[in-house]
């Protein structure tokens, strides 16, 4: 016979309520429930919670390779706040991320629209457009390193020798403007197929009747896109933008291979700065502080977008 929870001390009441709840759901095997969730709880604690907490601790230390960490509180964060190189890396990271994601969004929508229209060899084109996404980033970046090379690169060769558009080659990776544009371009090239394929899946799920009804009501193609297609893929758009923002913000390979953050720090983004601080300067505490510095801002962005998405779904 069960004892009423109200008659137990508070602690026992809570555990009793939890146990009771689990017992109600799982029946006589409720003890097995604990057994089953223990591994995943341990896994999350050991592989996520512990490293994350330890990282926060290390970011508040002066930690050099081979020496024990010395706790310095928020010194690393304060120092970074006033560090010109760090400030430029923050600005560059936002330019790189939002520049890339914006273009990927537009190109992704165009790709999806083209692939939903009646074109010949649609499957073939879908496969071709997916190549940048499936190719290993390192391979793509190394290819672009060669393409952008100022004196031996194929891009300058085409522009100067073949098409004769320019009198002299451009230092694509050596000028501040073109270097940032080049790394953004490679990120766009690599990332837009993910947008396109995701939007394509979303568009295919929109009932054809909606388009027919809109057409009957005299809606133009643009109006059908605005009032049927866009609302139909809105949730997918939010998820894709959210994911891509996180991935692009943390993208290391493209920038590191193409410019290593140069020239003169003009393409230095947060992941590369983290890497350079950890392995170049070998200041591990400060490197983790660099990595964690913008975590709250990213977390807020994710929470806001996730809430917006949930609200939209409720409506």
């Amino acid at each position: 016979m069960s004892v009423p929870a109200a008659s137990l001390p508070r602690k026992a009441a809570v555990s009793g309520a939890l146990g009771g709840g689990l017992k109600r759901v799982l029946g006589p095997d409720h003890r097995l429930g604990y057994l089953f969730i223990t591994p995943i709880v341990l896994l999350v604690l050991s592989l996520v919670a512990y490293p994350f907490t330890y990282a926060i601790y290390l970011s508040m230390t002066h930690k050099l390779v081979g020496l024990p960490p010395i706790f310095v509180g928020f010194e690393n964060y304060i120092r970074l706040t006033w560090d010109g190189f760090f400030q430029r890396a923050v600005v560059n990271s936002f330019i790189f991320t939002f520049g890339s994601v914006g273009f990927k969004l537009v190109l992704g929508v165009i790709m999806a629209l083209v692939l939903t229209s009646r074109i010949r060899w649609r499957s073939f084109w879908t496969g071709v457009l997916l190549i940048p996404w499936v190719a290993p980033t390192v391979v793509s970046a190394l290819n672009f390193l060669w393409i952008f090379d100022g004196s031996l690169g194929v891009l300058n060769y085409l522009l100067v020798r073949v098409l004769r558009i320019l009198p002299q080659g451009v230092g694509w990776l050596s000028e501040p403007g073109t270097a940032m544009a080049s790394v953004v371009a490679v990120n766009i090239w690599r990332g837009f197929p993910f947008f396109g394929i995701s939007f394509l899946a979303g568009m295919k799920a929109i009932p054809a009747e909606l388009y027919e009804a809109a057409a009957v009501d005299g809606a133009t193609a643009l109006q059908r896109f605005r009032h049927v297609t866009l609302p139909g893929i809105r949730n997918i758009m939010i998820i894709v933008v959210l994911l891509s923002t996180i991935w692009t913000f943390n993208d290391f390979q493209i920038v590191y291979i193409l410019t290593k953050g140069g020239p003169g720090g003009t393409t230095m983004v947060m992941p590369v700065l983290t890497y350079e601080t950890a392995f170049g300067a070998q200041r591990l505490g400060e490197a983790i502080a660099v990595a964690l510095y913008l975590l709250p801002a990213l977390a807020v962005t994710i929470i806001v977008l996730a809430r917006y998405m949930r609200k939209a779904r409720t409506r």
Binding site: R79, G169, S174, K260, P263, G264, G265, Q282, R283
Partner: protein, 453 residues
């Protein structure tokens, strides 16, 4: 699956055995097998001798890498030691050291670059006796190499070699124009470059990036010294934008002028990494470039037609003289090793003069001397280009010069502070004065942080 376990499983499935009985018997079988395997493994270890983890550096001079690996293997066979090799490259060396040291699992012995002894000192064994013994038998260490491997009289590594290098010059083009080999950057290099280059044919006089790279770091460091400046003063205090400001400004002005005023560098040079000047030189697009011996080696190995048309000369100088830093590679012996004596023995084995000679002869000038007697080896006279490389090394100074070498001086090198400064001027539009002050602040930060320990 073990046949005994299969039988048990079948009996369980047929209802001939209780679950508890199955678990008990299965535990006995698996536990017994595991224990047996462990005993066998221990016996195998006991028979095959101790195991040594050796990290070597994979340089671009592959013939040298092969010889060194073979020498280590021969030593292992002779001493009945198992050797587990791993290779570090320019791209992953520091990452591997950091990860291994932080994980408490460094190799027993590793080939390190000049930054190793200062940076990984806490994990390295004091090898003063061994280092002095080896150096003593070879006429003593050259001054720059001595400073790289020791701090306050304590040796943290055993010096091995220095990467030779110098100004690689297209002697055919110089001779064609009736010019002399340059001795100073300004005006010699500028004039030779202007008179030999032909931008319409994409041939540029000088190829020397100021972008984040080892090439830029080395070039700018040498240039500051050439003009009488330095990052540091004689006491080892930051002096980039203080007592050395005037000389450093003149040096940086020259570096920037090669791109912006004299226009002797190819477009895109500020986007170059360490490999770009090698590729451009080998493709016949440069008249002059500073580089390590690996460029000369690669041209020979690939039978590049420019190999015979290339002369490697002393790195040019400036108003205060001609300076150079040759990074001394060395053996780091880690405290965590349980085989200290074997590590010492291995170092003595590979540093044996006959074996080093075999290695040096395959390295096309890259295995430069760190010991006085090795600098006198006849090998260096077998090719005029080798002699240029060797002379560069013999006169080498050290990071931190004119002050002492310190962990902070090494970190300024490792963080590409000077290369970043060059980039900020050329591509960031900063004035030389502002860039020097910005870099000086970074150097002060490093000095403050590294002074803590």
């Amino acid at each position: 699956m073990d046949s005994r376990l299969s039988n048990l499983a079948e009996q369980l499935a047929a209802g001939l055995m209780a679950r508890r009985e199955f678990l008990r018997k299965a535990a006995v079988i698996t536990g017994g097998t595991a224990a047996g395997l462990d005993v066998l493994r221990t016996m195998a270890h006991a028979q095959s001798g101790p195991k040594l983890r050796v990290w070597l550096f994979k340089s671009y001079v592959t013939a040298g890498n092969d010889i060194l690996a073979k020498q280590v293997e021969n030593w292992a066979a002779e001493r009945k030691v198992q050797v587990e090799f791993d290779w570090a490259t320019f791209g992953d060396r520091e990452q591997k050291f950091v990860a291994a040291i932080e994980a408490g699992n460094p190799p027993d012995i590793a080939e390190m670059n000049y930054q190793g002894p200062m940076r990984y000192r806490p994990a390295l064994r004091d090898v003063t006796a061994l280092a002095k013994d080896i150096a003593g038998a070879r006429g003593g260490l050259l001054p720059y190499a001595d400073r790289v491997v020791q701090l306050n009289g304590q040796y943290f590594a055993v010096a091995r070699l220095a990467f030779g290098g110098g100004l690689h010059v297209r002697k055919d083009l110089i001779e064609e124009k009736g010019l002399k080999m340059p001795k100073v950057y300004d005006p010699d290099v500028v004039e030779v470059a202007k008179k030999t280059q032909d931008p319409s044919k994409e041939l540029w006089g000088f190829g020397q990036t100021l972008n984040r790279s080892d090439d830029a770091r080395g070039f700018l460091q040498n240039l500051l010294w050439d003009y009488g400046g330095s990052v540091w003063d004689k006491d080892g205090k930051p002096a980039l934008a203080t007592s050395n400001l005037k000389a450093n400004t003149a040096a940086m002005q020259f570096a920037v002028d090669t791109i912006q005023k004299h226009k002797i560098q190819p477009p895109g040079v500020m986007g170059w990494t360490d490999l770009h000047n090698n590729e451009a030189f080998m493709a016949g697009k440069l008249v002059m470039t500073n580089n390590g011996a690996s460029l000369y080696y690669a041209m020979g190995a690939k039978k590049n037609p420019l190999y015979d048309k290339t002369q490697v000369i002393l790195t040019p100088g400036g108003p205060a003289g001609s300076f150079f830093f040759a990074g001394a590679y060395n053996w780091g012996l880690f405290k965590a090793s349980k085989h200290a004596e074997l590590c010492d023995d291995l170092v003595r084995w590979v540093e044996d003069e006959k074996r080093f000679e075999e290695y040096m002869s395959a390295c096309s000038g890259q295995a430069g001397p760190v010991y006085k007697k090795r600098a006198e080896h006849p090998y260096w006279k077998t090719n005029p280009n080798y002699e240029g490389m060797k002379e560069n090394i013999v006169r080498s100074v050290w990071p931190g010069y004119p002050g002492p070498i310190t962990p902070a001086a090494v970190e300024v090198e490792a963080q590409y502070i000077l290369a970043d400064m060059g980039g900020r001027i050329v591509t960031g539009g900063l004035s030389i004065d502002a860039a020097l002050k910005e870099a000086h602040k970074r150097v002060e930060d490093i000095h403050r942080i590294r002074s803590r320990g």
